[in-house]
Symmetry: C2
Subunit: 202 residues, 2 copies
């Protein structure tokens, strides 16, 4: 572990980005649960209180470190607010409008491409699912969200790969409303439909 | 374009691998349809007749160039032979037994990781889907196989990412029979179920 301590003044303009750099490095190395705010603060050469001052909780810092080009939780709030019934048909258009936005797409594609980096395993498994996907399932009031949300993520991820990364037709050129009608039944079954009896959620 | 002509004797032991090397390079650069057997032969410094001698058609050469650790068409023959009804429940166990095989998994993971290379776009879009996925749909006797098989591929790809690359729980540890029961209804709907009226297949 390298400790980068350059004696930055608390509150200097680059304190925030030093914390973010340290957080990205350490989350990628050790995942969300294996990384403490104290260790990030030490690596950035700042007091832990400053980390909380700039970012709030560790989860908030993780979300900031993901560098998503928008606040997905804000965007998804209307979807989540109406509960699980019909959620797939509300979720997919929002999701597609984000991905189809030419301003946002480059950053999202870079994020999707990084999924095959070995370091992404920690970030995704331990972080993105816990901090991003998990809370959506909880907010929707799902039964067994820990089991259902990864199923949703599996189809979303496959759709992203086919449409945006590999540009496989006809998915690549399909109008949003046809994509919604095609994939919503799958997602809605994962959200609220019958699943086989199985392994209890971890 | 570099032409590697080292005057190999026809039929020398490394002629076959020289052709394969040239094919991989050129398929990755120009895709299946943009690459001719003649051009591959020229790059490998052999007569085009030798390419046909070793590999048969261009499609066969493409499959060889993918370097899959098994002949997937042989493996899938029993699935395909029984038609589209219930095909998802026959396809998934075969698919999972291949991916869960510790002998095969490293090569398959390397292939999956390479999907985010920009060169994979050509290989996947123009090659894998045409040569591998497409014929399965045709052999199953699907209606609109060009529209349905990419949907199947989208869920399979997402399952692979969640289970094998990112190792997201509970999907990563789920027994095969639970995975089949969870994902088969999705795949069967894509194969034979109602789809929204939409863009005609290209």
């Amino acid at each position: 572990m390298t400790s980068v301590s350059r004696g930055r003044r608390p509150g200097s303009p680059d304190t925030r980005s030093a914390i973010l750099d340290a957080a990205r490095t350490m989350f990628a190395r050790s995942g969300l649960s294996g990384t403490s705010v104290r260790a990030i603060a030490a690596a950035a050469g700042v007091d832990p209180a400053l980390v909380h001052h700039y970012f709030g909780s560790k989860d908030e810092l993780f979300v900031a470190a993901l560098q998503l080009p928008f606040d997905f939780r804000e965007v998804l709030a209307p979807v989540v607010a109406h509960g699980a019934d019909g959620a797939a048909e509300r979720l997919l258009p929002v999701f597609l409008s984000i991905w189809d936005d030419p301003q946002l797409q480059p950053a999202l594609l870079a994020l999707a491409r990084s999924l095959t980096d070995p370091s992404s395993k920690e970030l995704m498994r331990d972080g993105f699912l816990t901090v991003v996907i998990g809370p959506i399932g909880a907010a929707l009031g799902l039964e067994e969200p820990e089991r259902r949300m990864p199923l949703v993520a599996s189809q979303m991820m496959g759709l992203i790969f086919m449409r945006y990364l590999l540009e496989v037709e006809p998915i690549a050129s399909m109008p949003a409303d046809e994509l919604v009608a095609t994939f919503a039944p799958t997602l809605q079954r994962y959200l609220t439909g019958p699943l086989p009896p199985g392994t209890p959620a971890a």
